[in-house]
Amino acid sequence: MKNQYEPIQTSIVKIEQLSPINKLFTLKIKNKQTRNTFKFRHGQFFILSFPGFGEAPFGFCSSPTIRETFQVSIDQRGSLTSKLFKSKVGDNIGIRGPYGNGFDQKKIKNRNLVLVAGGCGLSPLRTIIQDANLHPEKFQNIQVFYGCRNPELLVFKDDYNQWNKNIEMNLTVDAPDKNWKGDIGVVTNLLTPEKISSDSVAILVGPPIMYKFVIQKLIELGLNEKDIYVSLERRMHCGIGVCQHCVLVGGKYVCTDGPLFSYAEIKDTPEGI
């Protein structure tokens, strides 16, 4: 019987600093056979661990179509991530997964896709952005609305020009510096009837406070509650629906039923958002 908790060994093949608090790690599964069979879908996550520092869940952030390696972009937040920030190319990292329900691409067939991100919330959405850049034929129109505290904290800055070819990028920050050319203020301000068609599908990744306002705005713009997806963060230990840490009281688990939920699914769950 396979041990579900056994980490798959990967090695770090590249580390890039994306912002003062965020690094992008490119990981390669060491065992060739495992690497060839390892597959994930948009919206899924994995559990990363470092012996002695425990485990924590992270979203994938590279296109699922890239199979040799995968990437994860991580904010330094606690002891595990601090340990990771000290690691070097060639170091080993254990992972397990993929976990989560993923995002069914059928849901956005022939639909306009609105991606709303706050802070490092852009990272998990990059699976879609990168996929759309590599395979534009798979997607309809994609619009990204991305807000950050200041320009320094934006992740994947160097890629926006390239992304802009296939995707509409809209950026805003709270506190601009003197070179800032984008918008100023909260991301909600960018969501206007001129920009967003009411039959769009939206995916939101960012802090819960952002969700409240963005959801309200999107509903005002005529989006269906079923078409607004939010990514929820919870404490996780098992990733397979047993340990109960990630529960949304009332019947759902973020690790197996999520982490993406439609607003219609969770709006009646107190503490859901």
Binding site: G52, F53, E55, C243, V247
Partner: protein, 324 residues
């Protein structure tokens, strides 16, 4: 099977390198203990405060060790154990946990090395037991089941087997007067049944109501109920840095503990006693029934016995049913 034969069976098991555990009455305190001899052994009809859960889900399950870039999974041999005398509700709890941990290698390995011998409930506690005994037994996981024919003195038992292991064991021991009950899976045909279905609805409806506010003031978040509960199976995964190696294990956790729902940055989703105690009931009476088609409470009464605040689960349920 009479008392003497049961003692013979216990001796036989011990002789054949099984470690036998059963519960004993030590001046009113019921403990689970290793049985060293079959001589004078009698089944204890009272239930132990701590259930048999720890034999399958130890409070700390070593999972793997890391040393010099090597990960070594814990493949240590499990001793062959016999758990003797589990009551109906502990068998029910075990049947549930076996469902939840169906794919768990640690649990399943322990299970493979264990012989489970149940005993019939005390008739006074379960008056209608006789009526549906077979229908009940075929949905419980056990190897052997001893049904006390005349309770009190326990001088004779009707014997059922619930697995090939159980049959083989009795055959080898030389006892053939048993009836085999085929395990039909954990869920009876009728599914959850009306009472449990009704509870799902009532608990959902009761959220935010007065009773939870009252319990918020009473409950001390000590987590004792989760420790004695035979169905509580929450855990956390923990790393420990030892001298030459790092140990990763799975430890019992309690949804009443402060950091249970805490995420990086410090936010806690279960941040009030009201939310925690509601979550506890939600798990037992809503989530488990919906996920496994079995109730998450087996009515053993241990949580009530151990609660320092005097919370009686039957009373809570009675009020939820009445008030909603």
């Amino acid at each position: 099977m009479n008392d003497k034969q049961l003692q013979g069976l216990v001796s036989y098991l011990i002789k054949n390198k099984h470690t036998v555990y059963s519960h004993t009455d030590d001046d009113g305190k019921i403990n689970i203990k290793k049985i060293d001899t079959g001589k004078d052994f009698t089944l204890c009809p009272k239930r132990p405060l701590y259930s048999f859960k720890k034999f399958f889900l130890p409070s700390c399950q070593k999972m793997m060790v890391f040393s010099d870039n090597e990960t070594t999974l814990n493949r240590s041999k499990n001793e062959k154990i016999v758990l003797l005398g589990l009551h109906f509700y502990d068998l029910k709890a075990f049947t549930l946990i076996n469902q939840v941990y169906k794919k768990d290698p640690h649990f399943q390995k322990k299970l493979r090395n264990a012989i489970i011998i149940g005993q019939s409930p005390i008739p006074a506690e379960m008056e209608d037991y006789q009526k549906f005994e077979k229908e009940v037994l075929e949905h419980l996981k056990f190897d052997i089941f001893l049904e006390a024919k005349s309770h009190g003195k326990q001088e004779s038992f009707r014997i059922f087997t619930g697995s090939e292991d159980g049959q083989r064991l009795l055959d080898d021991f030389g006892y053939r007067d048993y009836e085999n009950i085929e395990y039909k899976g954990p869920v009876p045909k009728k599914g959850l049944g009306p009472i449990n279905s009704m509870l799902i609805e009532k608990i959902r409806k009761s959220r935010g109501s007065e009773i939870w506010k009252e319990l918020d003031k009473k409950c001390t978040n000590c987590g004792k109920c989760t420790i004695v509960c035979p169905t509580c199976f929450c855990f956390k995964i923990k790393d420990e840095i030892k001298k030459d190696e790092i140990l990763r294990s799975r430890e019992w956790d309690s949804c009443f503990y402060d950091e249970f729902s805490e995420i990086a940055g410090g936010h806690k989703f279960l941040n009030t006693t009201e939310k925690r105690i509601y979550n506890y009931y939600d798990h037992k009476f809503v989530r488990i029934p919906e996920e496994y088609t079995m109730p998450g409470c087996v009515s053993c009464g241990r949580c009530t016995e151990v609660c320092p605040a005097g919370i009686d689960i039957r009373e809570v349920l009675r009020r939820i049913i009445e008030e909603n």
